[in-house]
């Protein structure tokens, strides 16, 4: 009996190494596949167009610095202004993230900490709305904004994030586990107003949830293309993704190096942020999955 067990164990072990090799090969292949486009983007951004036409795959260029300068001049000479786009995107993403997490926390607190008549109906509506995509409202939204003469106004991209049902839902789930009413009560005893209690006691408790949601709100807003493409027609108001979509135009057809550099500039901030926060971001995704 024990002999059989031993042989079984050893056979499992032998199977293991075979399986492990397969696992590592496939995983590494997928990682290379994932990195390949980005490596190509980086390596071609400092090449000249003839060099790219000779070979896209070559990793190095004869005159990287000179080519980089030239490509940068080309993208700036067209309607592509990376700095302006970066600033607009930064403005929109930062403001809408702040509004999103602050007001979502406030709404979630209203649902969790207080008893009010319409509370149940309200939270049911929030959950029901989670899945309604903003694009279904586009035409009405555009008409409204147009009537108010607010086309090209970046605030029209920022203010809607005050009402973010998805974030409210997540915050509510988090608060239900993390908030104890005793802390709130004791703050009340000390004479703090309700609003102050929220800002000084509840918000710090919610920090982990806020951090996770802030990252996703920021990335989502930074990458948004549909709404900005419809609302922004002034070339000085365009956000980075709208500018990126300009790179597809015919004027760039021949300037491959400039296209690669333009793309690289637009993802550089994202890659830098990801390099520092990747572990945290991946954990945040996992947290959202379990809660959702």
């Amino acid at each position: 009996m024990s002999e059989i067990n031993v042989t079984k164990k050893s056979s499992i072990k032998r199977n293991d190494t075979g399986l492990k090799v397969v696992i590592y090969i496939v995983s590494i292949f997928f990682c290379i596949m994932t990195m390949f486009p980005f490596v190509m983007m980086l390596c071609n951004s400092y090449k000249s167009t003839p060099e790219i036409q000779a070979s896209t795959l070559a990793l190095w260029s004869a005159h990287p610095i000179a080519n980089l300068k030239k490509n940068w001049q080309i993208i700036n000479s067209m309607d592509f202004h990376p700095i302006e786009g970066f600033w607009n995107s930064f403005l929109v993403s930062t403001c809408s993230t702040l509004l999103n997490v602050y007001f979502s926390s406030l709404t979630a607190y209203a649902i969790t900490a207080y008893e009010w008549k319409l509370k149940r109906a309200f939270s049911a509506i929030v959950i029901g709305l989670m899945m309604v995509p903003a694009t279904c409202t586009t035409i009405g939204f555009y008409q409204m904004v147009y009537k108010l003469h607010l086309v090209n106004n970046l605030w029209m991209l920022i203010l809607p994030s005050i009402a973010a049902p998805m974030t409210v839902f997540f915050m509510k789930q988090y608060l239900e586990g993390a908030l104890s009413m005793e802390i709130v009560e004791s703050a009340r005893m000390d004479g703090a107003g309700e609003f102050r209690t929220f800002n000084q006691i509840v918000l710090p408790i919610m920090k982990p949830a806020i951090a996770t949601q802030a990252i996703f709100a920021y990335v989502g807003s930074w990458n948004n293309l549909f709404m900005p493409l419809i609302l922004l027609t002034d070339k000085h108001k365009k956000t980075l993704p709208v500018m990126v979509s300009l790179l597809n135009g015919d004027i760039y057809r021949k300037e491959y190096g400039a296209i690669y550099l333009g793309l690289f500039v637009t993802v550089l901030p994202l890659i830098v942020v990801y390099a520092f926060l990747s572990k945290f971001i991946v954990e945040g995704v996992a947290l959202g999955a379990v809660k959702g």
């Binding site: 035409i139 009405g140 995704v285």
Partner: protein
């Protein structure tokens, strides 16, 4: 005592919910209702904002003239094409996405082989998800370029290694290669995200269940299909719902893959809506009708999927209630 306190504070519940409600009414509810109404009007033409509701019977006595825009959208060839494309591209992306995500989930959470470096794999595989979709679309567009592009260069190089010559292929000029590329970019961007969601679900399963399965002599494949998958069913439905809604809203990637020669291979419903409203004759009414149709489809599908997801918990609740009732009866 406690109750009294709660009651006296209840007005703050309303006050704190006010900003959400106001912003929601202005930026979501009003535009939804407005979009619905525009679907029944004659609003078209660049920059126009005044409209008239369509009469119920048309000038030539057509019945149900008020639904004209909806009829036009539903019978239009390009909307049909757009809807078909959207569904096909979503399916082409979702099946391999879920498949590979499940495979990696099985591998990375396997208790017996204990794969090393999963943290790094997860981080690398998730990375495309945070990159701007528009950037990825253009990047792939140039990588699949013709006659010189990284993919053509790579394939030509491989052929050369085996002493053969290959002609560069013009990927963006053929219907199915365009669809495949768009589906691949979607896959590329989302498989890591799906995998992390699933892994989180597996980690949440109590280890005792796996131990029991091991003791009972279940092998890896059995454990995965009989235990892991049923346990992460609700997360899989969640992934399915979010992916489906995202898929029906596909815009950024196909938008940047327009080529006249590929027979509108990448035309999606959102692109159709934008093209109707902001190009040509600015048919706001028709675009609004198309939005309403998509809205109804999305709401119906997510309601259906949510119903499927809820099913189990409700059944459990019912059981509990029955048991309580029985206990109460016994007590009597």
């Amino acid at each position: 005592m406690r109750n009294k306190k709660l009651v006296s504070y209840s007005k703050y519940g309303y006050i704190f919910a006010i900003p959400f409600v106001i912003a929601f009414c202005i930026f979501t509810l009003y535009p939804i209702i407005y979009t619905f109404i525009i679907g029944f009007t004659d609003l078209k033409g660049a920059g126009k904002t005044d409209w008239n509701l369509l009469p119920f019977t048309g000038p030539k006595g057509e019945k149900f003239y008020i639904f004209k825009n909806f009829k036009e959208v539903l019978t239009s060839k390009s909307f049909g094409k757009a809807f078909k494309n959207t569904c096909i591209i979503w399916i082409m992306n979702f099946i391999p996405q879920l498949g590979f995500a499940l495979l990696f989930t099985a591998w990375f959470t396997d208790r017996r082989s204990k794969v090393k470096g999963t943290g790094l794999f997860k981080i690398l595989m998730y990375m495309p998800n945070i990159i701007t979709a528009a950037t990825l679309a253009i990047l792939f567009n140039v990588l699949f370029g013709y006659p010189k592009g990284a993919i053509n260069d790579l394939l030509n190089g491989i052929y050369k290694l085996f002493g053969q010559t290959r002609k560069s292929y013009e990927f963006i000029a053929h219907e199915w290669s365009v669809k495949s590329i768009i589906a691949f970019i979607q896959f590329f961007q989302w498989y890591g995200n799906t995998m992390i969601n699933l892994i989180a679900g597996v980690i949440g399963i109590s280890p005792e269940i796996f131990e029991a399965a091991e003791i009972d002599g279940a092998n890896r494949v059995q454990t995965f299909f009989k235990i892991t998958i049923p346990c992460i069913r609700s997360i899989m439905v969640y992934v399915l719902v979010t992916s489906l809604i995202g898929g029906l809203n596909m815009f950024d990637i196909p938008q940047l893959f327009i080529d006249i020669r590929c027979n509108n291979a990448g035309l999606t419903t959102n692109m159709y809506i934008r093209n109707q409203a902001f190009f040509g004759s600015y048919m706001y009414n028709r675009a609004a009708a198309a939005s309403v149709i998509m809205f109804i489809i999305i709401v119906a599908l997510s309601a259906l999927l949510f119903y499927l997801m809820r099913d189990r918990d409700e059944a459990k609740l019912k059981k509990l209630k029955k048991m309580e009732l029985r206990a109460a009866k016994k007590g009597l």
